[in-house]
């Protein structure tokens, strides 16, 4: 199973991870090995088998629609790396330079 350095970079972008060239090389070879091992699954005939996503196969678990107490705003914010008043603070998302 060939995984290239480019594949690693593409997947890293999706997974919000960064790798240097050396690390990417190592990951390419290790992921290739693991996927090669996983290719063994092709030896099993699964024709007509439904995918099993969940062991107990429950559906639509409902509860009464009554409000219950959750975390307070202060509790939700207590671990924030940066906050401003009652908000999580993040770097600017919109690019201002295009504004008129």
């Amino acid at each position: 199973m060939g995984i290239t350095k480019e594949d690693v970079m593409r997947i890293a972008e999706l997974a919000r991870l960064e790798f240097g060239p050396e690390e990417a090389e190592k990951f390419a070879s290790q992921l290739g090995d693991i996927l090669g091992y996983a290719a063994k699954l092709d030896e099993i005939d699964t024709k007509g088998k439904e995918p099993l996503t969940h062991a107990q196969e429950m559906v639509n678990v409902m509860r009464e629609d009554v409000p219950v107490e959750g975390l307070t705003q202060e509790q939700a914010l207590m671990n924030a790396p940066q906050r401003k008043g009652e908000f999580f603070l993040v770097p600017r998302i919109m690019d201002n330079s295009q504004e008129d």
Binding site: L17, D33, E43
Partner: protein, 493 residues
Amino acid sequence: MELYELGIRKLTDAFAKGEASPTEALESSIKRIEALEPEVRAFLKKDFENAREAAAKADRAWAEARAGALYPAPLTGVPYALKDNMCTKGLETTCGSMILKGFVPPYDATVVEKLKGAVLLGKLNMDEFAMGSSTENSAFGASRNPWDTDRVPGGSSGGSAAAVAAGFAPFALGSDTGGSIRQPASYCGVVGLKPTYGRVSRYGLVAFGSSLDQIGPLTRSVEDAAVVFESIAGHDPKDSTSSSKPVPDVLKACGRSIRGMKIGLPKEYFAPGLSDGVKGQVTGALERLEAEGAEVVEVSLPSSMYGLAAYYLCATAEASSNLARFDGIRYGMSDRSAGDVVSVMKRTRSKGFGAEVKRRIMLGTYVLSAGYYEAYYNKALKVRRVLKDEFYAAFDRCDVIAGPTAPEVAFRFGERTDDPISMYMSDIYTITANLIGIPSISVPCGLSSGLPVGIQLAARAFDEEGLFAAAAAVERTSGLADRIAEPKGGSSR
């Protein structure tokens, strides 16, 4: 005999009779921990101050009970510790990861709520995000096997197994996604139970593979595992996957005769890769069960050895999705050296996660990505169905399925860190129970080269009673209950 040597039932018996108090039990545990923790390194965080307060409260509850008040909950005053992936209000919870260093949960996991009254000693080491089989993936250093401190305790709940084996506490909780309770239990010579999927609430357990994760006890006897199981099991409105089936009386089941019980032995389990020492001990345990009146029947699980491959596709897919929440915005580590949000996320995650966690996130992202979903992820889910069908066909012919917990005894540090697949292989026997959601337990059954060997038993979903009946019989006939290891190096071996 020191109090730290007592199991749960003997300890609470002593509390009830007034022969010992929870505070005395706690001080005995603390003394033991302070003497041996530098060798074992089971803890990530100790919390003796709050433990002393909880013990004093338990002292009063037992004193009142002796004066005629109602008996307190069965674990009142019993010291215990938690794997560090279960949230504890006000007490740092790291999952063995740099990315959660300093994270203080604003709430308790449901299991912690249910254990209120027991005395929490602290949080235990683990492979980062429960990904690993040796604790070598912990960002804070590995724990050591009390039987031989040159060897790994197993993982990912390695700190839990080591703590219980070393006599730090009569019980600990671990979590099991692919064998993470049973494999370290086997390596450290203790009992480890993975309950049926849905038996124990996962609320407050930091998610790894949500369709696979279960919390369970590690103890030094089967009966103690039964007591803890009954205390933590049951439906929880905060976890929609928790089952509303009534919790069975497994303690009673421990006393059940196994005469006529059919024990299935999958012929595929005794293949090359299984060490002779482990094979010998497991075979010996089965012979003793036969002598007790059980019937050993050969069964076949032709696809069981493919479970590992299916697992590494399902579990990594789920992990890649679950671990997307660690973004450096709402909690945990944050690298703000870059100017935009996406770079903050990338830098935080790249710095905060260790190599194995990144490997699994990458693999999971790959198998879920466009063009590969059908070939890998969906194929793995279909194999999962095949495995369930095969196990239940085997259960038509037997009550429990038995085999080794791990193919070998505890390995040495560094032996497998460079080759992910060789590390994964130590979970080959445990992984299928998670994929199909059945309960499974590892029970000590002997020693090989001076190191513990565990036998693994599995039963139909929600048949913990049958499982405990068989497990108690293994323990009875092997005489290995309540063993405590005296930590030492392995230079003689």
